[in-house]
Subunit: 315 residues, 2 copies
């Protein structure tokens, strides 16, 4: 019998907890979860990590708020919101001194930040979705696939990529290792670029975004800017983001995008790695993405407005 | 002694009341105000129309909610929000059977609607601003100028244009009649196009809009799209809208744009005659204005969101 594979999930919010729990079902995997919430961590250590919704089970996971307590790992999965990538990977870097670390986060630029601190990086994208409903409990809402591939500038070995995908498949998720995961990453990116900031700015759920002609038209123009950038960089999305919008309208008309939920709660958004990711990639390709640049400015404007008093008394 | 000049102000909100009151100070002018607010109308008829702030006086004005009570007039001034132009001018058209009627409203397209119902039209733009503080009372906040000129497709006589400007000057406002008032109209339009919808979408007052590099950059790009359209149509703005933004930042840092006030109160906005006016004029000129088109879609999206429940329970 070989030694257990040790995996550390960095950030056990909804997404991170889904990955940790599915891996925690496997007897040959030792799963650690790093999170900043003592309530969530304590409940996971006391009762296990519980999944409800699309799957129902409880898994053994070691959770901690203190990265120094985590032993060296073979694999990592970073699942924090992009604003916290740099801080989270800096805190956990000693765990990954000889590891391959995957991002399953939204947008562009997270792998670059992870690569600043660990030896080998896996580019990852997931369509799985859920929500923490109580400490230690995650509702599994969407059982979409996950794709992994070597991060080109500091690549994981292909064996590490397929090992991670295989473990998740055995745990019950849908996951695949690919030589080039950029097409999968850009498919989800373009879907997000067309819908997420639009939801945040207008307050509309996915249904009206996808069906109001003017708003959907803007979504399509935002996606088209991104497609041109992808083409210039030699990246071919592996599915049609417009069809993903149609599908989301049909399946979840009233769903409010994560960025709209962030704006409603006055939390810093992920616009910099979504529409802002397109703007940066456009610059790299010698192109412009003026509509995506406008969405970044508008969402940052909304974020800035939270710190102001709105009584008009300075007028 | 000649007969009094009879003027009807259509819509006596803040702007309409400022015009009505200044004209009402002149013994040779008979002023009527049409408004839908019985409280405002009754107070004006009982006590006169009172101005506070930048000027302090009380003027005699005949106010009514019933257009059939208004005698035929020589001049008209339309001051309703642009969404109500068509309805208001339809209701008052019999008053203007042989009159020249001016718009002092925001944006593009109001004169076109007025011209559907009256014989002669005056293109107008005002920088005056104020607020109704109680029925019959208007606070005069900004004493900016007003410019009038014949509306080209259905022009008022130049004598009517200068008569209206001269009456307002004698009443105490700053007003001028011009052979071509499009330059003045586009100056204010471009200022509004750069700031008004940005305020509505972000929640930011004019100060941060004018000073945050990314938001100001977007303002400048919205204005630049409009400038290109003006140039293609042979219109030369008579002042620099960027300097107007700098001036507004310096004088009224905390001022919240009218469209932000509309959005906060869930009132239909004027985006269709502002950014939407640029989009329509661009089409006329064979150009595109994609950023202004995006702002129109976003503000309409915000308006549409008000009729939805935001509990996410459909998801």
């Amino acid at each position: 019998m070989t030694a257990a594979t040790r995996v550390c999930v960095v950030g056990s919010g909804a997404i991170g907890s889904l990955f940790a729990a599915h891996l925690g079902r496997l007897p040959d995997v030792d799963v650690w979860a790093y999170d900043v919430s003592p309530a969530h961590v304590d409940r996971i250590n006391a009762d296990g990590l519980r999944i409800t919704g699309a799957a129902e089970f409880r898994a053994e996971v070691h959770a901690t708020t203190d990265p120094s307590r985590i032993p060296p790992c073979d694999l990592g999965i970073v699942a924090v919101k992009s604003a916290y990538t740099r801080a989270a990977i800096a805190a956990t870097a000693p765990v990954f001194e000889d590891a391959a670390v995957a991002s399953v986060q939204n947008g562009l630029g997270n792998e670059e930040r992870i690569a600043e601190a660990v030896p080998r990086v896996i580019r990852g994208t997931t369509l799985a979705a859920g929500a923490i409903t109580a400490p230690g409990v995650v509702r599994y809402d969407a059982t979409g696939g996950t794709w992994f591939g070597p991060f080109e500038p500091k690549p994981a070995r292909m064996g590490e990529v397929t090992l991670l995908a295989d473990l998740l498949e055995r745990g019950g998720m849908t996951a695949a290792g690919l030589p080039d995961a950029r097409g999968a990453q850009w498919t989800k990116l373009l879907f997000n670029v067309g819908t997420n900031a639009l939801g945040a700015v207008t307050g509309l759920p996915i249904g009206p975004i996808g069906t109001d002609p003017a708003v959907r038209g803007l979504a399509s123009r935002l996606i088209e800017e991104g497609r041109r950038v992808a083409h210039a960089l030699g990246i071919t999305p592996d599915a049609d983001p417009e069809a993903m919008i149609d599908d989301a309208v049909a399946r979840a008309f009233g769903h409010r995008a994560s960025m709209l939920q962030d704006v409603t709660a006055h939390r810093v958004t992920e616009v910099d790695v979504l529409n802002g990711g397109i703007v940066a990639a456009a610059r790299e390709a010698g192109l412009h993405a003026p509509l995506n640049e406008a969405m970044v400015a508008l969402v940052h404007g909304i974020e800035a407005s939270w710190s102001l008093e709105h009584d008009g008394s300075h007028a």
